[in-house]
């Protein structure tokens, strides 16, 4: 009996090793084939190498450096050598008196921008699509795309020049017998100025993508609807809008996902000591406490908190869109 089982075992062992050998052989062949394919295109990898190096250094290394959010960063000890402190910086941020102010302003500006800046380009594209005269259409497009090429500094500079107490807007107000308003330093005006100047600058450019989507609508659909007596408005609502719905949803997900990612550049330029109560957002706070006051760990923690929220928002909006509309990013 013992012999039999021993023999069995031996057989099994030899079977296993045979199998293993075969697997090895297959793997070796696959690997050599792979190596051959790589070698054949080695030049392509040479081309890619500076790009990969760039991303490693300037994008992946900062990700590694993000650990200072959980440490007390001391420059002389470096990122690795600095002591761990857990969630200390996060707690300090959550407990600080400006926490709710920052959250409120960031969400407020983000939602206001989404509600106003998002629909305007869609409406603009739908209306431009109804213009028959190509010359007129081209003219309007040329005009409304132009502000896209102005820099943030220029747009904010123009805003300040026009909105001064003796600026162009207040001249008009005076002309109609009103009293001049100090737009720039009045905190309650900040959000509106931010959002409507944003609409002014971006509506034309953002409409391009919808105009392109509308150009792809099959004219036969419109002809059929016209024969059935549908008016222009009816055709817009029942043909054009459904046709560009997937584009709208995708862009809505992207925009809604970045509601908390209010950009630094324009807010910072429009900020002054007087409107701080409504204009201070997370990104400008990170700049002030991080770069100007050199509280590296603390502001890295605030930045990390903000990007985590952005990411969660993106996923949530995407999930909702998937359920409601069956269109989603992934």
């Amino acid at each position: 009996m013992a012999n039999v089982s021993e023999a069995n075992e031996k057989y099994e062992v030899s079977g296993k090793s045979e199998k293993r050998q075969m697997q090895k052989e297959v793997k070796r062949k696959a690997r050599s084939r792979w190596r051959k394919a790589v070698m054949k295109n080695w030049q392509l990898y040479v081309l890619l190498s500076p790009v990969i190096l760039y991303f490693l250094v300037f994008h992946y290394f900062p990700l590694y450096g993000l650990q200072i959010a959980f440490k007390d960063f001391i420059a002389s000890k470096g990122i690795l050598g600095s002591p761990w402190v857990g969630f200390k910086h996060f707690e300090r941020f959550f407990d600080s008196y400006y926490f709710w102010r920052l959250i409120k302003n960031t969400i407020g500006i983000g939602v206001f921008t989404l509600v106003v800046s998002f629909p305007v380009p869609i409406i603009l594209a739908l209306l431009l699509n109804e213009v028959k005269s190509l010359k007129y259409k081209k003219f309007v497009q040329t005009v409304i795309y132009a502000p896209h090429f102005l820099s943030t500094v220029v747009v904010v500079g123009m805003l300040l020049l026009f909105l001064k107490t003796d600026g162009m807007i207040n001249q008009i107000i005076k002309l109609f017998g009103g009293t001049p308003i100090d737009f720039i330093s009045e905190p309650s005006w900040f959000k509106s100025l931010y959002v409507f100047s944003d609409v002014w600058q971006t509506m034309g450019w953002s409409s391009i993508i919808y105009i392109a989507a509308l150009a792809a609508v099959d004219p036969a659909q419109h002809e059929a609807a016209m024969i059935d007596g549908a008016s222009r408005l009816q055709r817009i609502f029942h043909i054009n809008i459904p046709a560009i719905m997937p584009t709208i949803v995708i862009l809505f997900i992207l925009n809604a996902g970045s509601v908390m990612a209010v950009g630094f550049e324009k807010v910072y330029l429009m900020q002054n000591d007087l409107n701080m109560s409504t204009s201070d957002v997370i990104s400008t706070f990170v700049y002030r406490s991080g770069i100007l006051e050199a509280q590296y760990s603390f502001s890295a923690a605030v930045g990390l908190f903000n990007s985590l929220i952005n990411f969660i928002m993106l996923i949530m909006v995407n999930q909702i869109a998937k359920k409601v509309n069956e269109t989603s990013l992934w």
Binding site: F55, D166, G303
Partner: protein, 292 residues
């Protein structure tokens, strides 16, 4: 096709509405141009509202006499030219291999690059890295940290993928290496997309101020946008007006005029290129949107 009555009213309202929108967009721009060419006195009093009043080039003369503005202009041109050159080369280096279906590990490398859109270390870790690399306050800090943009890699890759694969294959059979194929076959066919890239990147460099604000300290390295910020937003003008012979009121007035003129000078390259730019830019947005 005849139009019904409701359709006709719709069309009329549509024309009126779009004309108002166009007017709202163009009026501030026209105002800036006219104000820069007017006697500032009329601008402040509100008497100049459309066309220049008491036409003068005084403000422009002051702009071109201002050393800071000229220096900023020259710096911006340098950053834009060198930066854009590096951007375009890097974008090609990334996009061409990634457009090739026979590249092993293509998916992984693409994911490695796209990942950085969604996850980034953020401002502070990046700042510390730049500091450790000793790049603070250097010329290259305006160039290298933004060497390539992921979105533009995707646009260019999409373009390369549309080039018939047979061209590359037949060249390979003739014994062409990949470098040769890229240089003598792919690139000559890619002029439109390279033009789009040059324009995308150069407008970005021309208009950016954030990079300079964070990484540069010396005034003589500042790009034009930072100088503009000092003049328009921080109102640091006192030391910039060199004419001390003017009275206080006259100085205030010339500052006002200079502000409008400097807005024009800062946008001059874009204003002159705009009609030509527009076609290519729109094309670029289209290529990108096909993917997205």
């Amino acid at each position: 096709m005849r139009e019904s009555k409701t359709d006709r009213t719709f069309i009329i309202f549509n024309y009126i509405f779009l004309s108002i929108v166009a007017l709202l967009v163009i009026y501030p721009l026209v105002f800036v141009v006219s104000a820069s060419l007017s006697n500032p006195q009329y601008v402040i009093s509100g008497e100049m509202w459309l066309w220049p009043k008491e036409f003068t080039l005084d403000a422009y003369e002051k702009v071109f006499k201002n050393k800071d503005i000229i220096n900023g202009f020259v710096n911006t041109v340098k950053y834009t030219v060198v930066g854009t050159a590096l951007n375009v080369v890097m974008t090609i280096l990334a996009a061409y291999p990634l457009s090739r279906r026979d590249l092993k590990g293509r998916g992984v490398i693409m994911a490695f690059i796209v990942f950085t859109i969604f996850f980034s270390g953020g401002l502070i870790p990046t700042y510390l890295l730049i500091k450790d690399l000793g790049m603070l306050n250097s010329f290259w800090v305006m160039i290298i940290p933004n060497a390539v943009a992921v979105w533009n890699i995707i646009i260019m890759r999409t373009f390369f993928q549309a080039i018939p694969h047979e061209l590359e294959e037949s060249a390979m059979i003739d014994g062409c290496g990949n470098f040769r194929i890229l240089w003598s076959i792919v690139l000559p066919l890619s002029f439109p997309v390279i033009a789009v890239m040059v324009l995308f990147y150069s407008v970005g460099h021309w208009n950016s101020y954030f990079q300079a604000l964070i990484y540069l300290q010396d005034q003589d390295k500042f790009p034009l946008q930072l100088i503009l910020r000092q003049i328009l937003i921080q109102g640091q003008m006192d030391d910039m007006i060199q004419t001390t012979s003017e009275s206080f009121l006259a100085q205030q007035l010339s500052v006002e005029g200079l502000k409008y003129a400097v807005l024009i000078v800062a946008n001059l390259p874009m204003l002159m290129l705009y009609p030509f730019l527009q076609r290519y830019f729109v094309k670029g947005v289209m290529i990108g949107s096909l993917k997205g």
